[in-house]
Amino acid sequence: MNNNSNKMFFLFILFFSTLISISSNSWFGCWIGLEINLLSFIPLISNSKNLLSVETSLKYFLTQSLASINFLFMILIKFSLLKNFNMNNIISIMMNSSLLMKMGSAPFHFWFPNIVEGLSWMNNFMLMTWQKISPMILLSYYFNKNFLIFMIITNLIIGSLGGLNQTSLRKLLAFSSINNLGWMIFSIMISENLWLFYFLIYSMMISMMISLFFLMNMYFMNQLFINNMNFFIKLNLLINFLSLGGLPPFMGFMPKWIIINFLLINKFYFLTFIFMMTSLIIIYYYIRIIYSSFMFNYFKMKWVNLLMKNNMSLINLSSFISISSMILSTFIFM
């Protein structure tokens, strides 16, 4: 059932569901948006009829429906306790927990690498970027600062330590996504503009990586080493991985720099330490991959001949954007 008009219809509803959720007047409208999001994403991912796609869509449905029904129950309890502000702590913790489960953040993250392993690259891109928008914005409406700081620390640690033993590229990006969720939730607590900035740059970086992997049809790490890739593809891979890890001359450093600036000015020293150390672990396993892929000269297999395809003309442009955007962004105010 590879019907493109099906996909266009469900994509349209998916975009609108996020808009419904974030622009509603009441919490009930937010819940409606989340439900429509679930209803329109499931047909997008359960398109083929193999075992893997069924299991994926089942796991996604179960976790997301549980989270959204819990969210609604907490909305009703909040509604019924109008003047009783003593219960604010508990209710905000429960509502934040259900939204964190929707996003795939730790400690409710166990479904996320499993599902990412079962989806194609384009569906992964949808899951990692668009599906995170409405839970994040709903989180910014009613968050509990102490609870969220604890969740951020958990996110960072699990995202960095979980990716150490992975060989599948999808699961690697899933754990990297969990780690970046930690940064993003903290940026929500600073200001919503900063969250938007971080989210846009993060989705741009993820889109560059995923489009590269999609064009070369790569799902596992050994595929990076076996092929005799063009030099520019390898260079683009290097730049994208380092940019995702947050190394300075690349684009991915900019939002992390702003967050660290805020942390240090306001004396959040312990949190800064955790942010830095987990970023270090992430950069370690990125560099482990690209060092092997970029520096070494592997056996050139004759039957796997990866030419520059016709639709790879954007690779040079994306590398240029990743390298130069930090410097070019200083020219905005000229």
Binding site: L38, S46, E55, S65, S80, G118
Partner: protein
């Protein structure tokens, strides 16, 4: 809000539904039934809440429509699973 004891019933129903949802079951259908039970408890809760706002039940109908859509989506996934695996046992999940 004159009677507060009814909340125990709602919280109890909701908790029992959640407990069955997260328990280890043999069939997938039990999980979907527990989801419907949670929806039922929220329906009851919503009904009682809305009775205190001059009987405005429109929101309840909207909630009912969305929950039914969600339940039918779960059932369609169950059908898809039976078509590919042959049964709805949880033991047949070995891919991921």
């Amino acid at each position: 809000m004159l009677i507060y004891d009814i909340w125990f019933l709602f919280i109890y129903m909701f908790s029992v539904g959640n407990l069955i949802f997260v328990s280890k079951n043999k069939h997938l259908l039990v999980v979907l039934l527990s989801l419907e039970f949670i929806v039922l408890s929220i329906f009851f809760f919503f009904l009682v809440l809305l009775m205190f706002i001059d009987y405005d039940m429109y929101m309840l109908m909207v909630f009912l429509v969305f929950s039914v859509c969600e339940g039918s989506l779960g059932l369609s996934i169950l059908v898809s699973m039976i078509r590919s695996h042959g049964n709805d046992y949880f033991q047949s999940f070995s891919m991921l």
